[in-house]
């Protein structure tokens, strides 16, 4: 299968979001021509979560007690998702769909087709070998892997099967799987993760947190971070207004501010540690994509922090 042919077939009636090159980084953007895509992309610094969870999502507009909500319905293809990000989307789906499902995420997710591309090798800060998230197993709709003279293609879901059938694309019988062996330092990291529930009082949390600016960069680039705020905006004439859901971060001090100006996680160490436990202990919420390591302005590496506890 040639990627350009697949792209041209998929774009009918769908918006395509794919990795492009911007100022030395790869990012996901809406593209109209195959030539805009950076085929040699490594790992886009921003994860594809923005398709299902835009940074600013209009929730409803209101005029007095008259509230009007518009649930999004645009069909989108994310063309070029790494296996670790596919797993991350699965983590986010499980969370957002559980209990009272988040309706805007759900609507966007149900209208999104994921085209995953296998990794031939690991990139600079990847630690997907710790979690096995380099494996492309489920969560994607169409899977691609480099073969001789093009790409091998296989559906990963019923939606993928139906789509390939309707586009008259012949599937390959099997997709090869990447097999990145876990490195020795990563083995130690993985073992330490298993001990984290006993290490919440370690003095190293304070030491590690002194390097942190609480800038929130790690939560912006993390493919499983989805915390949000709800803001109400008013038109200057106060006749109408709108409610917007925006990205928020547990790393920012006002995240736990309550009436009376009290902050439950006012101490940087508390905020810093909270993220580690949320990602590594309270569920399989880290996929080892390494973006937090890449983006951190003071080069804090999650693996080093955990090993020093």
């Amino acid at each position: 299968m040639q990627l350009e042919a697949l792209f041209n077939k998929l774009k009918h009636g769908r918006r395509i979001v794919a990795p492009v090159s911007r100022e030395g980084y790869f990012v996901y953007e809406t593209v109209h021509n195959f030539k805009e895509i950076a085929i040699d992309f490594t790992l886009p610094i921003y994860p594809p979560k923005e398709v299902m969870l835009p940074q600013h999502e209009p929730v409803y507009s209101f005029k007095g007690a008259n509230v009007r909500a518009t649930i999004p319905s645009e069909k989108t293809v994310i063309f070029g998702v790494r296996p670790c990000d596919v797993r991350a989307i699965g983590v986010m789906d499980n969370f957002m769909f559980s209990g009272i499902a988040e309706p805007y995420y759900k609507a966007r997710r149900e209208n999104t087709l994921i085209v995953a591309i296998q990794c031939a090798k690991q990139f600079e800060n990847c630690f997907c070998d710790v979690f096995g998230s380099f494996k492309l197993e489920k969560g994607h709709d169409i899977g691609l892997a480099r073969g001789s003279g093009g790409y091998l293609i296989k559906a990963g879901s019923k939606l993928g099967e139906d789509t390939l059938k309707s586009l008259k694309i012949k599937q390959d019988s099997k997709l090869p799987q990447a097999n990145f062996k876990i490195t020795k330092p990563h083995q130690q990291f993985k073992a330490r993760i298993g001990e984290l529930d006993k290490l919440s009082d370690s003095k190293h949390w304070d030491t590690a947190a002194t390097e942190c600016f609480s800038c929130g960069g790690c939560t912006i680039v993390c493919p499983t971070c989805q915390c949000f705020d709800i803001e109400d905006h008013s038109a200057p004439n106060l006749a109408t207004g709108k409610r917007i859901r925006t990205w928020d971060s547990c790393q920012l001090k006002p995240f736990t501010r309550v009436a009376g100006k009290y902050h439950f996680r006012g101490k940087r160490t508390d905020r810093f540690r909270h993220r580690y436990y949320h990602k590594l202990v309270w569920g399989d919420n880290c996929v080892g994509c390494g973006r937090c390591v890449t983006i951190c302005p003071t080069k804090i590496d999650m693996r080093e922090v955990v090993l020093k506890l």
Binding site: Y60, G99, P103, S234, T256, A259, F264, D270, H278
Partner: protein, 261 residues
């Protein structure tokens, strides 16, 4: 069903409790448990989580202290005005599971509000409990609210009041609430304690309860955090791995005693 859309209802009663606390009764009919909360929306001001302090399927009551933008704006509303409500959210107290027990309801300051729903339930089902013992502490006599309710409760149940700074006319106890607790004989066998108030008060109340023989699985507390979405998704109300809006706000103490912020 969109969980972000509020339902607009009319205010049917406004009662001034203290200089900055008002009770609002709204025409919102729903089945709810004591200890649950709602998100209250005032267009152009915003949304704030409020404890439900009633126990009725015919209306909902909340006690609002004017501390910020939204609450100050709510205080300007009158009977007949509309307000947006989302909810009820949270787990609340499972009152049926407490049948036959000695209830110890211990509240300090605004912490008294979520506990009022429990006492209202007991008013409606007085024979359900072995005893109902209410301990309330306030800063001074002007800060005492639910005065009318307290008068009724003093006739039906055992009520003990204290203030930090008494006035000349104050005829009850003075001092912190733990002094009140230590003066009474608390029945820990088949007893359950429900407490709500400032964190430092809860800390010392638990110490007193433990000293009286209450195990940590006999103590319930209502935790307060910033509940933004109310549906367990936005992350603001997390205490360790628990969502106060979904796993709480009512928690059994032994389930949270080791949790870090």
């Amino acid at each position: 069903m969109n969980p972000y859309k509020p339902k607009f209802v009319k205010i049917i009663k406004v009662e001034e409790m203290t200089s900055d606390i008002r009770l609002f009764r709204v025409d919102f009919k729903c089945r709810h448990r004591p200890g649950q909360f709602i998100e209250v929306f005032l267009p152009h001001y915003g949304e704030a989580p409020m404890s439900i302090c009633s126990c009725s399927t015919q209306y909902l009551e909340m006690t609002v202290r004017a501390v910020g933008n939204v609450t100050n704006a709510i205080h300007k509303l009158n009977v007949g005005d509309t307000i947006g409500i989302r909810g009820p959210y949270g787990n609340g107290y499972d009152m049926k599971s407490l049948k036959g027990k000695h209830l110890y309801i211990i509240g300090g300051g605004t912490g008294v509000a979520p506990l009022r729903g429990i006492i209202k339930y007991a008013e409606q089902h007085p024979k359900d409990f072995a005893s109902v013992n209410i301990f309330m502490g306030f800063r001074n006599p002007e800060q005492v609210f639910f005065k009318e309710d307290i008068e009724l409760w003093q006739r039906m149940f055992n009520v003990y009041l204290t203030v930090d700074q008494p006035s000349k006319a104050w005829r009850h106890c003075c001092g912190v609430i733990t002094t009140l607790l230590e003066k009474q004989k608390l029945i820990n066998e088949n007893g359950v304690a429900m407490t709500c108030g400032p964190p430092v008060m809860i800390k010392f109340v638990i110490k007193s309860l433990n000293a009286a023989g209450f195990r940590n699985d006999q103590i319930f507390m209502s935790l307060e955090r910033l509940m933004r979405c109310g549906i367990g998704k936005c992350g603001h109300c997390m205490v360790s791995n628990l969502y106060v809006c979904k796993d709480g706000p009512v928690f059994r103490y032994d389930q949270v005693q080791d949790k870090k912020e």
